[in-house]
Symmetry: C2
Subunit: 275 residues, 2 copies
């Protein structure tokens, strides 16, 4: 692992690190905010998964999460959204290939060799983080935006007991039923049906989410038709899952929306992680 | 004036607008955050002047100022740092020409036709803002980062009585005595001496700053030698000017530093602007 940069920030430090990932077979870059309290011992860790076209950097510089993480003594990790670089498959579309890993392990050519973001997040980066930094594996939460909201919800469902709290900003809720999902599951996994196991609405219907959930989505989200929030809303209510879904009047899909509500999300996670 | 974008943000709206500037003879772009309270009548305005290489966008997306402005019912304007585009002079160096206007009105070729950022901020954009938006001209504060901190301090000194409060993040304090200043004054104004009237330390020595001042600068600022903070510190103390200068341990020149202390700055301005 190599540290690319480290900046003092809210009494702690915002680092950027690269490492050779076994899962993706590429060098991967991530951001890690460590609060001041990390100098004295392990702190809870909040995962922030980003959306389409993003790198590790977007949320790290635009979401404003560090202010609130510092208040609560939480670390935040900002992984990249896909493998990148020469020799890594890509597509001209913004929503497939590099920058659009969808948090699954691809099984199909040309994606299978490197596009293994589920394993990257849940195993590879996890081991690196808990081996290399003062972080408490017993206190993890997960959040994300858009495709990263899909990632947060589905990866939490795939890791029972691991994440104490799950939240999402404008998540893709039902990708097997959306243009943000069908194309990607066909490409990465060979069929839309193979995406059923990576669909938050399906997972909620199956009772697979065991942590409290907070979701914010804007009523004026320009990608609202892709998100299928209504399907997840129905599933949560039907299944009587512990969850808060807030439809925020006038907000869109941008980081101005995310930054507006990031304090509430960090507070929500802090409550679960320090309990 | 044309609105490029508008995003709901902390109950208000973050807009981006372009207009044909009389001062620069070019189209200029600026960001304007309006808090919810602007729907009911004029609100105070905080100017945020950005540093070298920045556009209107950097602070708008990275400083996290809107959260705190919304709390206090303040608007914030984020002007660009220079004229731009075809037919506008430029230089290969990052610290001269486009992105490096230094908040002066150039008198020398090839800069004089368009590089008129002092007039742009103090007159042209000012008129546009107070004509077009619900802003209270009697309640203005000004802040900025690095070159923009220089701009905040010097433009406030040039406008006695206009700004109720002045603050800066890692400002260039004594540009006639620095590589961030001497080259630019020679290019834009024809001599270093012509920069004396645009040098915060000189202006403080002359008693030209009549508003309370808050300055934060990191002890680990990688450009610390260019800032000449010590010269301004001495001048403020000698002149017994109302000011708070904080040297923040371990912080550098980045937006991670700015975002860490932006809440304190917005609070400082709000106290002066709502008095």
């Amino acid at each position: 692992m190599e540290t690319v940069s480290e900046n003092r920030c809210f009494g702690g430090a915002q680092g950027v690190h690269t490492h050779a990932s076994i899962a993706t077979g590429t060098d991967m870059t991530f951001g890690l905010f460590l609060p001041e309290e990390a100098a004295d011992g392990p702190v809870p860790l909040l995962w922030y998964l980003s959306g389409l076209t993003c790198t590790h950097e977007n949320a790290m510089v635009k979401a404003g999460a560090q202010a609130h993480a510092a208040e609560h003594g939480l670390a935040i990790v900002f992984p990249d959204t896909s493998p990148r670089g020469k020799g890594v498959a890509d597509d001209e579309a913004y929503d497939l290939g590099q920058g659009a890993g969808f948090y699954v392990d691809a099984t199909e050519a040309p994606w299978a060799p490197h596009f293994r973001m589920e394993s990257y997040v849940l195993s590879d980066l996890t081991e690196l983080l808990f081996d290399g930094f003062p972080l408490d594996p017993g206190r993890q939460g997960i959040t994300g935006h858009s495709m990263g909201g899909h990632g947060a919800l589905t990866l939490a469902a795939k890791s029972p007991g691991r994440f104490r709290s799950v939240s999402a900003f404008a998540p893709i809720c039902n990708p097997t039923n959306s243009d943000w999902g069908r194309k990607q599951f066909e490409a990465y996994l060979g069929s839309i049906e193979a995406g059923d196991a990576h669909d938050a609405t399906n997972l909620v219907k199956a009772g697979a989410l065991d942590a409290p959930i907070l979701i914010d989505t804007g009523t004026d989200d320009q990608f609202g038709d892709y998100l299928k929030t209504e399907e997840l809303a129905e599933a949560l209510a039907t299944r009587r899952t512990e969850a808060t879904l807030r439809l925020q009047k006038g907000y869109d899909h941008s980081y101005f929306f995310v930054s507006t509500f990031i304090a509430d999300h960090v507070d929500f996670h802090a409550e679960a992680l320090w309990r």
